[in-house]
């Protein structure tokens, strides 16, 4: 009986383990091995840390990573600030059909692909686009206004793309907060601010943390939005990886970049969790 149960468990786990090992673990090992190769001649390679040294010695690459990380954090914070009131409204202020209707409205933009949504923003923001025309029509501006091809446009795109991934965990955690607890908070003499600080945010913390991690990782690893909406100076780290692999034929450096992205982003998430006194276990429930 026991051995059968064990076999059942093993069979159930097999697809997951195969998935993890074949599609996630092995490719990473391979990327790591590639990143350790240094090209010393036509078709000749030797093992060295030269690619990692290039990453640390060339200020441009470090700066690009730093820029990408800071902008991703900023995007995460903005997403949280916008998504929190929205989620609270959906979870607590409305009920029934309105609630599911509003939730659905958050979902609808994600039924089209990211590419189409980004193109949508390009049509809205460009110099000959809708916003620019509108501003001129109502007399707020004399000439065409260019809103595309800058860091603001990237930020807008990132926040827009990530919104759903913050709203969903927040709505779920906020829904599990009983209304009586909030009422009790007011009964005990609390005001809006103190109830928010002492009751709602602590309860929503797992949702906030998991939402932030997802949004941060998605922004950091985003390729499409920064490339399409960004301007002349808007280097994004994933763009560097792409160009090393595809344009420069330099898989070795690209692989090293990929590995550094994995290590540094994990370190940032870990650091942030430590800094805010959270842990993954608590988030997972």
């Amino acid at each position: 009986m026991r051995s059968e149960a064990r076999l059942g468990l093993a069979l159930l786990l097999t697809p997951l383990l195969l998935w993890l090992s074949l599609l996630i673990f092995l490719p990473h090992v391979d990327i790591f091995l590639v990143s350790l190769r240094e090209r010393i001649g036509v078709g000749k390679y030797q093992i060295s840390f030269a690619n990692y040294l290039t990453f640390f010695n060339e200020p441009l690459y470090l700066w690009t990573f730093f820029r990408t990380a800071v902008m991703s954090m900023l995007a995460t914070v903005i997403t949280l600030l916008i998504a929190f009131p929205v989620s609270y409204y959906i979870a607590k202020m409305v009920k029934g059909r309105v609630q599911s209707g509003l939730f659905l409205l958050c979902l609808v933009p994600f039924w089209v692909s990211e590419l189409v949504r980004t193109f949508g923003w390009m049509i809205l923001l460009r110099e000959t686009g809708i916003f620019s025309k509108l501003l001129q029509a109502i007399g707020l501006s004399d000439g065409p206004v260019e809103m595309l091809y800058n860091d603001g446009a990237i930020m807008l795109g990132l926040v827009y793309t990530s919104m759903l991934f913050m709203v969903v965990p927040l709505v779920t955690t906020l829904e599990s907060l009983p209304d009586e607890v909030i009422e009790a908070g007011y009964d005990l003499g609390g005001n809006g601010v103190s109830v928010l600080r002492e009751i709602i945010i602590p309860h929503a913390m797992p949702g906030i943390v998991s939402g932030c991690i997802v949004v941060f990782m998605l922004s950091l690893g985003n390729y499409l939005t920064p490339t399409m909406l960004g301007g002349k100076e808007s280097l994004w780290f994933t763009e560097l990886i792409y160009s090393q692999f595809i344009v420069r034929f330099n898989w070795e450096l690209g692989a090293a970049f990929g590995f550094m992205l994995l290590i540094l982003s994990s370190a940032i998430v870990w650091g942030m969790l430590k800094l805010t006194g959270q842990s993954l276990e608590k988030t997972m429930g």
Partner: protein, 357 residues
């Protein structure tokens, strides 16, 4: 126990079917090419005439090489990189196999182009490429708004500041170098000299950066920028300029004073291609003058097919002649084969230009 063995045998049968399926579809031609080089009407005609089926994957030079490198030259039966990107990657990664010239009907080719491409794609004694479509890159200019743009470096002029665009890719580096009176092709063999030229180009591109609206990435993006009038002068392919010329007579392709950059896209056989017969059949089929003219109509560029000009669209010929007087044709700078390793120098320059403020 019995159940397990049944499952195992089912799996074995399924595997056998899967692997057995491959040889049966050997006359499927998996073509890795550019947009427009394999139009639907040409494919239909080819399939009707030869019985082979064609699967098209659209790509560009860098992605073609990256894809073939990832599989060691497998997954495709015929690819179409530019002639300057064949010898280098072949030496470095061994992703192509030599072309058996006896399988190719050489009478269909313009002899001078065939010879030049054979020479440029030679590794050792083997030929790795035959020419297909050729064209140039230079400047696309709105002549009403930016008539003064005659050369690559004119894109830096104050008159057009904020309304120019170009790609951050190697053609831009090469074009600017020629325009600055340098000869990057002559320095191909000498990495130090090439790096020196590139550092001068880098300084120039950084100086020009404030006047650039954006660095374009794809052809469609550029079309949008020029059509809307947000950009009045840009580096681009000749076909892009001619396409826009059809909609707006003010915009056209201009061969730069320093010379348009000439490229030839070729046919190469990937090292692990499975149906060479279909690949040779395709090459000989599309090089027929009538079929080549159909490809010219779809791609907008002329081919190395002998006599296809007669079948080409008159409008396209007129645009070509307007952009290319005889001296501009003589001045075309054809890309020589890129030696392995130069991409790393260019890559550093492009990254630094992109990051410069």
């Amino acid at each position: 126990m019995k159940k397990q063995s049944i499952m195992l045998s089912t799996a074995a049968v399924a595997l056998a079917l899967l692997s057995g399926g491959a040889p049966a579809s050997a006359d499927t031609l998996r073509l890795l090419t550019w947009g427009g080089y394999a139009p639907d009407d040409v494919i239909a005609k080819f399939e009707a005439e030869t019985g082979h089926t064609v699967e098209v994957t659209k790509s560009n030079n860098e992605e073609m090489i990256a894809k073939l490198r990832a599989t060691g030259g497998g997954g495709f039966d015929l690819a179409q990189p530019s002639q300057d990107r064949i010898a280098g990657p072949q030496e470095e990664f061994g992703i192509y196999k030599p072309i058996d010239m006896s399988q190719i009907d050489t009478s269909l080719f313009i002899p001078s182009m065939l010879e030049a491409t054979k020479g440029n794609t030679m590794v050792g004694a083997d030929v790795y490429g035959v020419p297909h479509v050729w064209g140039t890159s230079g400047l696309v200019v709105d002549t009403k708004m930016a008539g003064m743009v005659k050369d690559y470096t004119d894109l830096c002029s104050d008159d057009v500041a904020g309304k120019v665009s170009y790609r951050l890719k190697r053609p831009t580096l090469i074009g600017f170098a020629f325009s600055m009176g340098l000869d990057p092709f002559a320095a191909y063999g000498d990495e130090a000299a090439y790096a020196d030229i590139m550092s001068k180009v880098e300084a120039k591109l950084v100086e020009c950066k404030p006047g650039v609206k954006t660095y374009w990435g794809g052809g469609d993006e550029l079309m949008g920028l020029l059509r809307s009038g947000e950009v009045v002068a840009s580096m681009a392919w000749d076909t892009g300029g001619w396409k826009l010329n059809a909609d707006n007579p003010d915009i056209t392709f201009v061969a730069p004073a320093a010379g348009a950059l000439g490229w030839v896209d070729t046919f190469v056989l990937p090292a692990k291609g499975k149906s060479d017969a279909a690949a040779y059949a395709w090459i000989n089929f599309v090089m027929q003058p009538e079929v080549a003219a159909m490809i010219t109509a779809a791609a907008g560029n002329f081919t190395a097919s002998l006599g296809a000009d007669e079948f080409a669209d008159a409008d396209l010929k007129a645009r070509y002649q307007a952009s290319f007087p005889q001296e501009a044709i003589d001045n075309i700078k054809w890309y020589p084969p890129v030696p392995a390793g130069l991409e790393a120098i260019e890559g550093g320059v492009l990254d630094r230009v992109k990051a410069a403020n």
